[in-house]
Amino acid sequence: MGEIWRWARDHPDDIWAATVQHAEIVLLASALSVAVWVPVGVLLRGRRIPFATAMGAAGVMYTVPSLALFAMLVPVLGIGREPVILGLVLYSPLLLVRNTVVGLQGVPRHVVEAARGMGLTPRQVLLRVELPLALPSIMAAVRVVVVTTVGIATIGVLVGAEGIGTLIYTDGLNRLFLPPVAVGAALATAMALLLDALLLGAERILAPWAQAAAA
């Protein structure tokens, strides 16, 4: 333990840089995932066959190991953050699209009809009634996506996306030197738990009427 502390104390800049780079990759990938897959979920609801097809494809993507996925994107996108961010976005539809569709399907019919009866347009019903009511389901998926993204992004260092993976691999595993590996493991775990707690808090504020749902 003493050795780990000493290394951490002697390398604050490396640790800070790795944390910031990692957070950037995670936030960018997660934001892109939500921006792409929630609208796709909205489009696919109520369309059984396209939804089932999309879920089949998403399941296949989800199964492809990240080292293999990132590596397969390198010939197209080159070394760096790009293959990692695209890879991370490709992983998330299984959870995000599914939970968006499930959340929207769970909105009671009479609530939608009441909103229509009050003169809201379909677009207003979607934005003001259905999506807010589907929020707990969507947020449950977002939380799992963010937590897994923190972990998978560490592997990105192998294709040139620096971050916490730099501590774990370049500084640690590559030299069989334990302290940076332990620091990296603790940092990644702490970042995942912290982001999860923040999202849970955000959900409580955005949807105070709903209890946090499990994914």
Binding site: A71, L173, V181
Partner: protein, 228 residues
């Protein structure tokens, strides 16, 4: 597509190398799963029988385990235990036990208490109830746990190649380090196919052990694995 063709050419020209890596990968996966399955099932049964505190521990380990990156677990195992086949197996074993444990626990806990009572009432001993009633009912969920673990292990075994424990990951890494896209793909494509094959194989096993009355659509709703 010409890139895939050149990866195929590389494979044809270096067949023994790629195939040795493939078998190494499979041996790593098999050893880790072979050890993790009995451990996970035994611990899962024990946790289900031991009451509340054990249940809390299972849930806590499960959610904490999700937050620790598999890459970090693997790197910790390799830096602590050294380079080689068995250190890699230890790391993979550590990753494979939790999903199997969690699913066994949930499966045993989910058995209808009425069913267990009826079995007891018929004169079965607790051990017989476990072997003839609880485990068979929990089996689909247990095998779903093994499926999740197998995909995770195939994926993470690729990282063993980083420090010379072999496997297909080593092929990917040498391709990355030398900037040879064909070599990289000759390692990456088989890893992806192996993970998909594990998913399909254990998915089929899962359907096979699911009693007909419990088959709803495509298998049971089970705990979602995590990608690695």
């Amino acid at each position: 597509m010409s890139l895939l063709a050149s990866a195929w050419d590389f494979y044809r020209a270096n067949r023994p190398l790629v195939e040795r890596a493939f078998w190494e990968h499979l041996r790593l996966t098999g050893a880790a799963l072979g050890l993790a399955a009995p451990t996970g099932v035994t611990l899962g049964i024990a946790a289900a029988k031991l009451g509340r505190r054990a249940a809390f521990a299972v849930v806590a380990i499960g959610s904490l385990g999700r937050a620790v990156p598999t890459f970090a677990v693997m790197a910790l195992a390799l830096t602590l235990a050294g380079i080689g086949f068995w250190p890699a197996v230890i790391g993979l074993y550590g990753l494979a036990v939790p999903p199997i444990l969690r699913n066994t626990f949930t499966g045993i806990r989910g058995v209808d208490p009425g069913t267990v009572e009826a079995a007891r009432g018929m004169g079965l001993t607790p051990a017989q109830v476990l072997a003839r009633v609880e485990l068979p009912v929990a089996l689909p969920l247990v095998s779903a746990g093994i499926r999740t673990a197998s995909v995770e292990v195939v994926a993470t075994a690729a990282l063993a190649g980083l420090v010379g424990a072999g496997g297909l990951g080593a092929v990917v890494i040498s391709g990355l380090q030398t900037g040879q896209d064909d070599v990289l793909l000759a390692g990456a494509v088989p890893i992806a196919l192996l993970a998909l094959a594990a998913q399909a194989l254990f998915g089929a096993a899962e359907r096979l052990v699911t009693p007909r009355g419990l088959r709803i659509g495509r298998g049971l709703a089970t705990h979602e694995g995590r990608t690695t």
